[in-house]
Amino acid sequence: MTDQATRLKVKDLSGVSVVEFSDRKILDELCIHEIQEELSAFIDSKSSGKILLSFKNVDHLSSAALGMLITLKKKIEEKKGALKLSDINPQIFEVFKITRLNKLFDIHPSQEKARASF
């Protein structure tokens, strides 16, 4: 599913919804609200709660993105689902480590490893 107006690309692989950003992204305060709305609507539409968010196309982020992820994680878990993250580059992973959010989120080096862990 790729829509010109969407910022997300979603594919279903063995019951896991793999979500990527549709172009190279800077996840900052300016764009995070719309991305969060789109992700939130997607979560609402899902009956299966296995969601993998790939950071493959993410070049940069700010703390606004971290806040979005926390909010989405809570939303998914309220629906008895699970959120995993993958493909986070070393610079961005460092942001997760500094904020200790690498302990809060289930992060994997690749989509394959993440999907296998559901």
Binding site: L30, S62, I98
Partner: protein, 153 residues
């Protein structure tokens, strides 16, 4: 707002203001990108590496967001002033809002168990982690950010 020389550590004396460039923008998230773009151009011109660029981009984004949202309370009639100096040995940026100020000491540690799952409150922590100096004026409506060029061994 204290933009004068800092007491104490000799390596962190602020340069005279007439060596700084200044950009004032409306309190708007799109407008807030203009100082970032100008500073990143200067970083590139001075050959700063990708890690430094990432650090400055992140810290400045956090400072501008705080100025926009907390300092200026999202008020479109307010402004943010950014003064910056990029030289061969360091980057110095001051971000000033038109708000009432705050006490940085009142911001809780976002890594503490009661706060780690809150969506906000990590901006200052990230600024301090990625920069060599982060100093708020006594009122709290401006912040001075400094990053020194890392010397290669």
């Amino acid at each position: 707002m204290n933009v004068g020389r800092q007491q104490g550590a000799s390596e962190s004396e602020s340069r005279p203001l007439n060596t700084f460039k200044e950009i004032t923008v409306d309190n708007d998230l799109t407008e807030a990108k203009r100082p970032e773009e100008a500073i990143l151009r200067d970083l590139s011109a001075h050959g700063y590496d990708e890690n430094t660029t990432f650090a400055i981009k992140l810290a400045l984004e956090e400072a501008m967001t705080n100025a926009f949202r907390h300092g200026n309370q999202c008020d479109p009639d307010k402004r943010i002033t950014v003064r910056y100096s990029v030289t061969d040995d360091r980057i110095e940026i001051q971000v000033c809002d038109e708000g009432e100020g705050f006490c940085p000491g009142d911001v809780p540690d976002p890594t503490e168990p009661g706060y780690i799952d809150r969506p906000h409150g990590r901006g200052i922590m990230l600024m301090r982690a990625y920069l060599d100096e982060v100093e708020f004026c006594s009122k709290g409506c401006s912040v001075r950010l400094v990053k020194f060029r890392k010397q290669t061994p």
